[in-house]
């Protein structure tokens, strides 16, 4: 393997590595049993004025949700079922979590618990997810 790589031009090598990366992504998708051609694009949740926006978000399984803190005060994202929990996010810090299984996920700010949000994860958008 090392010899082959050494003989390849850098352009070829990039192609090879890209191919390998695609193969890994496809394998992960197949392994997750989704059979989807590509992962859904990440979706942003904005933290602004002590609220999560959108407060209720509907995404496809496998979507990475990215929270970004736009306030001058730190916030922290914590799932009510303890599935995920960010560290404290200072201004403009982000936290990402990928939701792989259909369901309804409640979360809140562990510093300001009056701030709450919901993510509904569906196998397919508009499909019959188990809630």
């Amino acid at each position: 393997m090392r010899m082959i790589l050494q003989e390849m031009s850098s352009a070829l090598m990039r192609t090879f590595l890209l191919g390998a990366a695609v193969a890994v992504v496809v394998l992960i998708s197949l392994h997750a049993g989704k059979g989807a051609a590509a992962d859904p694009a990440p979706v942003d949740v904005k933290i602004d004025n002590f609220t999560f926006a959108p407060q209720r978000l509907i995404v496809r399984a496998g979507t990475t949700v990215i929270w970004r803190n736009r306030d001058d005060i730190p916030h922290a994202v914590a799932s009510s079922s303890r599935l995920f929990k960010s560290k404290a996010l200072d201004t403009d810090d982000t936290y990402a979590f990928t939701l792989t299984t259909a369901g309804t996920y409640e979360y809140f700010c562990s510093l300001h618990p009056q701030m709450t949000g919901t993510i509904v994860v569906e196998d397919q958008i508009g499909g019959n997810a188990m809630h």
Binding site: N49, F50, D71, D72, P74, A76, L111, P113, Q114
Partner: protein
């Protein structure tokens, strides 16, 4: 404050007049919180005395060391000003309490800076944590520094000059959609702690988030605060000192006086007066009138403690 008051004391300084105006503002805030503004016992002539006649201690709060956003790019500088003000008090207070949010992000350097500045007051300081003091990964920096000889997340009690002081923690294990939280273990400890004491012992309870419900929409209250107050109701004099909301508010309910202190770092809006409780940007020349410290004097035999809020400027 009436004209006759002004005439009576022709040496009334500008600072004293502004303090008086600040109290007037407090009255407005009482109306907002829906409490009963029975302030006469607190704001009588004793408050104007240059030399407090009883024993006094000092409250500072919400120093947010590390905060550098537009509402106050120099929170370290205003904390230093507050400590200078404490050092220049005509009568040295017995000790100081800090009602939490010592730091902004629980960074080691922030705790170091806070300690270096606050220790310059030359007073013993009794701390309770704010939610901003538990943000480090292992949640240990606050406890290592201030949590010795405390229970649970950092609660404790002590006696000074015949008054029983109780420091509570209501910033951990917060529940989705809820307010500040004391929890069963702490409430049980509080009942035990108060258990053997005579009802005539004056009690001072201090915690970061207000123990009374100031404004639930912004999380300004404590979910099980009423249960703590239940344990306190047999006592003849109870004073509850809080921070968190970065403004002065006061309410009297029976034998209990509730009071929140200003921050030394940045002001926050009055409940419901802004889209969120975030830091409030005010004109530079107004900032120091909204930051400050709180001086508490108690005279044994008096029902209520005299609580005087001193802005950094004015």
């Amino acid at each position: 404050m009436t004209n006759s008051d002004t005439r009576r004391d022709s040496r009334m300084t500008r600072r004293k007049i502004l303090e008086c105006m600040t109290w007037a503002g407090t009255g407005v805030l009482w109306t907002i919180s829906g409490g009963v503004p029975r302030s006469l016992g607190l704001l009588d002539d004793r408050a104007f005395a240059a030399q407090p006649s009883g024993v006094s201690f000092l409250q500072i709060s919400d120093s947010h060391v590390g905060f550098d956003k537009p509402a106050n790019p120099n929170a370290i500088g205003t904390l230093e000003e507050a400590i200078r003000q404490i050092k220049s008090l005509p009568a040295k207070p017995s000790f100081m309490i800090h009602t939490g949010d010592v730091t902004h992000l629980s960074k080691p350097s922030e705790f170091d800076d806070a300690d270096r500045i606050i220790s310059q007051a030359g007073l013993d300081v009794h701390y309770v944590p704010g939610e901003h003091d538990f943000l480090d990964e292992e949640v240990k920096l606050y406890r290592d520094r201030y949590g010795r000889n405390t229970k649970g997340a950092g609660w404790y009690s002590f006696d000074a000059d015949g008054v029983h002081f109780v420091g509570l923690v209501n910033v951990v294990n917060l529940k989705a959609g809820g307010l500040g939280n004391l929890g069963e273990e702490q409430l049980a400890w509080l009942r035990d702690d108060l258990g053997g004491r005579s009802s005539s012992t004056p009690i001072v309870v201090f915690a970061h988030i207000p123990l009374w419900t100031v404004y639930p929409n912004w999380g300004w209250g404590t979910e099980d605060g009423a249960r703590a107050l239940d344990s306190l109701k047999r006592f003849g004099s109870v004073t509850v000192l809080n921070g968190h909301i970065h403004q002065v508010m006061q309410k009297v309910e029976g034998n209990v006086t509730f009071h929140t202190a200003r921050s030394t770092a940045f002001p926050q809006p009055a409940p419901g007066s802004a889209p969120s409780p975030g830091p409030m940007k005010v004109p530079d020349d107004k900032l120091r009138t909204l930051l400050g410290i709180t001086d508490v004097t108690f005279n044994l035999g008096q029902q209520r403690l005299a609580i005087i809020d001193k802005p950094l400027q004015g």
